[in-house]
Symmetry: C2
Subunit: 479 residues, 2 copies
Amino acid sequence: MTFHGISPDIRAALERVLGQSGVAADPTSMAKYLADWSGDHHGSALAVLKPASVAEVQAAVRLCGTLGLAMIPQGGNTGLVAGAIDIGTTPGAVVISLERLNRIRSVDADNFTLQADAGCILQHIKDAADDQDCLFPLALGAQGSCQIGGNAASNAGGVNVLRYGMARDLIVGLEVVLPDGDLWSGFSGLRKDNRGYDLKQLFIGAEGTLGIITGVEVKLSPKPGQIETAYLGLPSFESAIALFRQARRDCSDLISAFEIIGSECMELARLADPTIVAPVDAPVHVLIELSSGAAVELRSLLVDFLAGVMERHLVADAVLAESGAQAKAFWAIREGLVEGQARRGYHVRTDLSVRISDIPTLIAQARGFVALEHPGWISQAYGHAGDGNIHFNVLPPLDLAEADARARGVAITARLYDIVTALGGSVSAEHGIGRTRQRVYWTGMSPVHCRLVSTLKNAIDPAGLMNPGCLFPVTETCS
Amino acid sequence: MTFHGISPDIRAALERVLGQSGVAADPTSMAKYLADWSGDHHGSALAVLKPASVAEVQAAVRLCGTLGLAMIPQGGNTGLVAGAIDIGTTPGAVVISLERLNRIRSVDADNFTLQADAGCILQHIKDAADDQDCLFPLALGAQGSCQIGGNAASNAGGVNVLRYGMARDLIVGLEVVLPDGDLWSGFSGLRKDNRGYDLKQLFIGAEGTLGIITGVEVKLSPKPGQIETAYLGLPSFESAIALFRQARRDCSDLISAFEIIGSECMELARLADPTIVAPVDAPVHVLIELSSGAAVELRSLLVDFLAGVMERHLVADAVLAESGAQAKAFWAIREGLVEGQARRGYHVRTDLSVRISDIPTLIAQARGFVALEHPGWISQAYGHAGDGNIHFNVLPPLDLAEADARARGVAITARLYDIVTALGGSVSAEHGIGRTRQRVYWTGMSPVHCRLVSTLKNAIDPAGLMNPGCLFPVTETCS
């Protein structure tokens, strides 16, 4: 079946519900909603719907239900697994963008909660919390354009999960338009509420397959008055794990980030910013951040901790940020990796998790396999070590044609998934399943798990119109 | 329908699966499984089944399914809402006790995780974590007899929720026998895993209505090397809330407990232990606990914090524990409230939550109503203020006959629920719904919410044999 645009009848029906400004159907105005961030995919859609209110989302969902149109809910379109765009598997769908639902509804600093429309940009929420001397701790590279509804739907992670948890842990309430157009409102402002099934858990991480999130209520934390950052050089990944264990014990719950970076990644960071110089010269780098209120002697805590671990030779070299600007420069290295990879073009990108103690094994096995079987390809290992989460990426040789690289990349990815699976790990620590990891998901889970997941989907979305092709294959293949 | 014991045929069939020691059917050996902790209820059952392995749980569930027998899963039977015993609404059911599944399966101190059978006593898990220099932070009065499976099924709370979260937040994996007898194993040891629907969330807090939890994997924390405890006297609940806000900002994430106690509760604590003397003389008491690793100057942090808030007259009087024994004495007051109430006999017991800033209003309104309309009844307000969770209990006059007190108690409870509902709060902050809060639950939730909850139940347990009468009415009354 091929779709050549939207029929005039359907377009008119959609415009009656959403107004002319709420329906985009020509290629130019749809373009930005159909391109994915990595450039790996370009989708298609009958139309992009842009409801301006919760009631309009409900009306659009009801109309699509009547017309039998599949719906792809979309936030900031910054996901990495094609969860919010068709990549050839969901033809004839409409994209429903939440971008016009972009208000902060309320901030309650006394209660440490904030309510916002799903389309609110994450950075705007962080700013609104900051204005009230609070912190909304969800922090990821895309925070300037991703939306809180998408963060909830994908259960976003990021660099502060270690201290504050994933999006799931930061959400106290949700508002969702169900597949039949009914509105489920799970807002209460309560920090603790144990009344039966916790329905919001169903929609968090469901990647839009059970309904469309229209509002999110999040937990705020007190804004830390002090932040101390250090950039460390270590002899090995093993010592990085030993360092983490010690840091958890010595630094109480004040570690807000513990990122590890293989030194080979430096070249990548310099692709994003050629002026970057590594603060240390060592095989493995660790970026550690502590934060606290004003009453803790945070700097001396970090200094004493580092003195202890250097004496034990876990850390070879350490540079403490002497200013906010220097801390920012450390983070620019970490953030430069993502941008540098994007500039480099196509590459194998993974999001693996294992037990924390298995991180060195994972990296050694993955590096060994790449070096042996794919000479010329460059392994890159970095990630959120405290969560057991490693982004092990592999860059093709510069002289390899992209088509060849992509073909080889499929085989490399499959092999990396085999390695992590053999270690009892996950092929998606934080990015989700979407459309790109569907096959490995369904083959990796037990038949009982697959059956339960399908039972839930069929119970909540019996017509199968919510984001088909995402998480679930269009044709059910679960065995 | 009246049940007069179990038929010989059914008993024989159950014994073929579980052995003679796995089936109790006479009143004496069933007694402890049918009495509830509060003494408010005494249940009935055809038999109590005591499987000794996960495979026996599966076999028992399959057999009950074939026989059409309703099943009531039971942990330590310490719940407060009759979630694990029939109170006349579930005749002809069997209780399935998990008590023989009581092994700690593994402790992984490097990964900060622990796996245990569902029937493991909470205290044993805390001890096993402690042996590895780790902390399992779930802490509640019943920890010496409650079981981790019941903690998971009821999403238990307790005194450390503020710092470490509810049971839901502490669980990384579950193992569940589904209503058809199949086993879903959601154990991975991973701290971060974002592969599609997070099925464990479905079973946590479901109070045994969707399956029987047979194993739990929990997150451990580093064991705090230091604990500082102070008992404070305050002029009002308003100042307690202002104090909490300041404490959250000044003490970073190091507050492990922040309990408020109305001074009128002291008499109750003395019922449990007549030697108890309140450390302060003030209308409102606060028990605050900070904990951290060795590197934080914890005591001076607390001393400086208290000096600041006393200067601002938020706190009138403060006693710092000078020893572990003195800290224990402070906690004996808090824990004595629960025991004192139990000794006092029948009383109105609630578990309310509101926005933190609404706590003073809730208490004032509740106290006002009791004083005005039920003279002679004694209001007691205490709870986990940092979670917005207040146990507002009301003791009948000593000279009132129990039957009269119970009748009046129903009316008082209903009115307290009205007060909390008008404030947008919850009638169950941490205890769950079970059989005793079912009516207020179903009338309090929106029709869309009720429909979703019923959809899930019907999808996972279509025969309705898992804990009928708990959470759901036996006859569906949801409108």
